[in-house]
Amino acid sequence: MLVRPKDGILDPQGRAVERSLRQLGFGVVEARVGRVIDLDVDAATVEEARSEAERMCERLLANPLIESYEIAVEAAGR
């Protein structure tokens, strides 16, 4: 899961990173900092794993007031 601040939400971390990158000479217009959460889950199908991941984001991993999330699922092939 990729959880990051929604558009329009003040992201002080992103702003600090953006300033720092500019100081290093990189042409950065905007930086936003989120977090990646890697999970290994037991699920029968990719769809089941995805719907579990969605519930996890809604309940705990993201705060919908300020954060959006994206989910990518890969089958481990066990």
Binding site: L10, P12, Q13, L60, N63, L65, I66
Partner: protein
């Protein structure tokens, strides 16, 4: 003292660090504090609940995000639903927001710096269990110490909160330590019996430490708790 001492629960999470100060302050102001470990499923018989400051669960993920699922929080939600007064201080405020008992959310400070200093706040409402001893417009000096105290509500929610008078304390002009929207320092639930604030009233009870203004807020809570005790009798 002839007045009865109402019992007030002080929740203790792994990482709470102001629980003893809160208990000391409540006791100094005429209540009997009762420490309640986060893993308890029920509250003992109490007339009010305080969620103290600290860094529950290391502030991992988001401040308050993990503590809200502590077993004791269900009991706190039920207590609040029954009209019981619940006060969240700093990390307690963050937990109440994450739990949905208070509107909005607390974000990392705009400055990204931890702030630790006295701030002046203005009392916007006195008809709450937390401000009854204050005068409207009164200026209180109370310390803050936090890294994630920037209150955020989107425009729509903020307009709702303002219209309903749920902003109970506001940082005085130029005093906002964290970038909170509309200088919000304390927010109440729509029902008025749940309040969260970033400043630490328990650190401003004895004037020897610079200000006794926090004592007004906590003494208001003790009054409200005592009234509940009388109502119960």
């Amino acid at each position: 003292m002839s007045e009865p001492r109402p019992r007030i629960a002080v929740l203790v999470f792994p990482g709470s660090n102001d629980d003893y100060d809160a208990a000391w302050a409540l006791s100094a102001l005429g209540a009997e504090p009762v420490a309640v470990w986060h893993a308890e499923r029920e509250l003992p018989r109490v007339e009010a609940v305080v969620l103290p400051g600290g860094f529950s669960y290391g502030d991992y993920l988001r401040a308050g995000a993990i503590a809200r699922f502590a077993p004791a929080m269900e009991a706190v939600a039920a207590f609040a639903a029954g009209g019981g007064p619940v006060l969240g201080i700093c990390n307690g405020f963050q937990i109440l927001c994450e739990a949905g008992l208070l509107p909005g959310v607390l974000r990392p400070n705009e400055s990204l710096s931890f702030v630790c200093r006295d701030v002046a706040v203005r009392v916007e409402r006195t008809d709450t269990p937390f401000t009854s001893r204050c005068a409207e417009g009164q200026r209180l000096v109370v310390p803050v110490k936090h890294g994630e105290g920037c209150f955020h509500a989107d425009e729509e929610l903020l307009a709702e909160l303002e219209a309903a008078g749920q902003v109970v304390l506001r940082y005085e002009p130029g005093e906002n330590p964290n970038g909170s929207v509309a200088d919000v320092a304390a927010v109440a639930s729509a029902t008025g019996n749940v309040l969260g604030l970033m400043p630490h009233p328990e650190h401003a009870v004895d004037p020897l430490l610079g200000s006794g203004d926090g004592g007004l807020l906590l003494a208001s809570l003790v009054d409200a708790a005592r009234e509940r005790l009388y109502a119960r009798a």
